[in-house]
Amino acid sequence: MISWWSILILASLAIFFFYTLPAVIYARFRMKKHAEKAFHYEFYVASGTLIWFTMGFAYMAAYMEAWEFVGMPSVFVSDGFQWWFIEMLFYLSWVPLWLLISLRLWRPAKIHNYVTPTDIIVHRAGGYERILRILLAIIIFYATVLYIGMIYIPTAGVLTALTNGEVSYHTFLILITIMVIANIFIGGFRAVAYSDVLAGIAFLVAFGVMLYYATAVWGGFGNMMWKAYETKLAEKVFTIDLPMQYFLTMLLLYGPSWLFIPHLITKIYASKDYKSVILGGLFSKLGFIVGAFISPLLIALSFLATYGNQPELPEVTVVEEYPARLFMEILGPSLPMFIIAIGLIAISRTTLDAMMLLGASLIDWDILRRGLHIEVSPRARYWITNGLVVLTAALGILIAINPEHPMVIIGYEFTWPAYAVIAFPTMVALFVDRVNKHGMFWGYLSGFISLILFTYIIWPEAPHNPFGVWEGTLPSAVAVLVELLVSYLTPPPPREHIEEFWGIKREIEIRERIKA
């Protein structure tokens, strides 16, 4: 027999679903108009029609998510402050570089109506299209499934903690998946973006409640901070034992690798105009301040202040349960706790849905349609698309069933390095016209092979290299070096191809017509 509170938490999933339903239905209504013209372009990137306000919340959702909000305070407490601090460092380089890269990604994306991150790469390469599409789709899909698994861990962990373990971690894994998939089925990316607006509002309310209670219990932030810092556990938590080069490569390589992170790329594609790209980007920083800086710091310190002098930390299935445990301890079953629960559900789904769409698009668009040239009827296409969303979600669940590490460590060690071997050769190709199809193909291939070799065979222990640098450093360096070397040893790409990629001819035509 489970308690009324656990039933309420179970019901809160349904309550949250119905709260976002109007936005999802509105998305469905708007989607119909665009889907007739180009189904995939609408389903996966909302036909590039989202205005700055919607994009702002969609970008905010990228950081007001379980990885930052739940994963970071948990790893802060379980593995040390330094793992959270490197997330602060990566943002130092990401912020100034974001618009430099995103505007250059947006220009060809808008001109050629790209659907997946792979589109821009194969178009720029101008050759090896089928094999390159399949190779890139596999690499990105591999990392995306890991990412989805990573997000599932705190999502289900938090909810099970809210019920004091009365409803199992695995039950919540299934329930949250059903809720997210339902939204995607109804309205694709547009539904995801519209419900991000409502989810963002729900989370900000919950954040206010958390901020108030977490500090009020300790008589203010200053008292809580020092109380936390002087506990027995704090000595272990605040010890810095990662090597200097790990921090520096996090700043200089991990940060820039996030400039081509696939779920942010599809958000660039979905932007209606330059205001959506630039102002949306600003909102992502607001999301980062709330979701990645203030909340994790506050929750981790409050957790330390509460449990830091106890002989053992509370017993949990996954460390990501800690934040929910903390608030249950402070508030117990109450209205503020229910508001927090809704906020936690809101942030749990924000990245999951975008990542599931991304994963499905890679198989659907890149492998089946463009790689293998499989043409199907519109009806079959609809079911294949939705079936692939379910498949992506199911593979993510497999990762999350029995996690071996905290989610943040999985991300740094396995997921982001896989994205990095795509990101760096792509960014080099955007700015160096001399890079050709041969260079790009061999660059990606060698990057991915070296990633697998370094991570699983040569150096299976973290950080998967003997130099103490971030896990993504060596495979990214191999990918870029091979790309440049092969490109300069082979003929340059045709000038017409580069001009077509950037839409130069169209730009000149329009400029001349304006002058005339």
């Binding site: 943002y91 912020v95 001109i111 710091l297």
Partner: protein
């Protein structure tokens, strides 16, 4: 004598795609949301970002060295906060200020680029 019906001739050109109507032309610019006028190569001032990154590397090296030197020590504080937390706050202030400065610069630069292409002055008037 051959009479040329100008209206019919223009329609012929439109149908054959020899010229585009002003509506199509405007629609094309609107649909692309300014994408054609986003520069493909970095603006000259954007290279300063890399100088800024070099500065951030030195800053990071200093901060991490300090944290490694003092480790956990309740007797060491900065601005009334434990050292590690004070540095985290400092880092967050730096990226927040960077975001606040960089966003309007890019917004203005893009707006200027579009206005220039459309033959308007910087305030958007022709």
């Amino acid at each position: 004598m051959i009479h040329i019906n100008l209206k019919l001739y223009l329609n012929y050109l439109l149908v054959e795609g020899v010229i585009m109507s002003s509506k199509d032309f405007k629609e094309e610019i609107d649909e692309l949301g300014g994408a054609l006028f986003a520069p493909r190569k970095p603006w000259r001032w954007e290279y300063y970002i890399f100088v800024y990154l070099a500065g951030l590397t030195i800053f990071t090296y200093y901060v991490i060295s300090e944290m490694m030197k003092y480790q956990w020590d309740p007797n060491v504080s900065l601005w009334g906060m434990p050292l590690q937390i004070a540095y985290a706050v400092l880092v967050s202030i730096i990226w927040s200020v960077t975001a606040i400065i960089v966003t309007p610069i890019y917004y203005y630069a893009m707006k200027r680029e579009i206005n220039k292409a459309l033959g308007r002055n910087t305030s958007g008037k022709r």
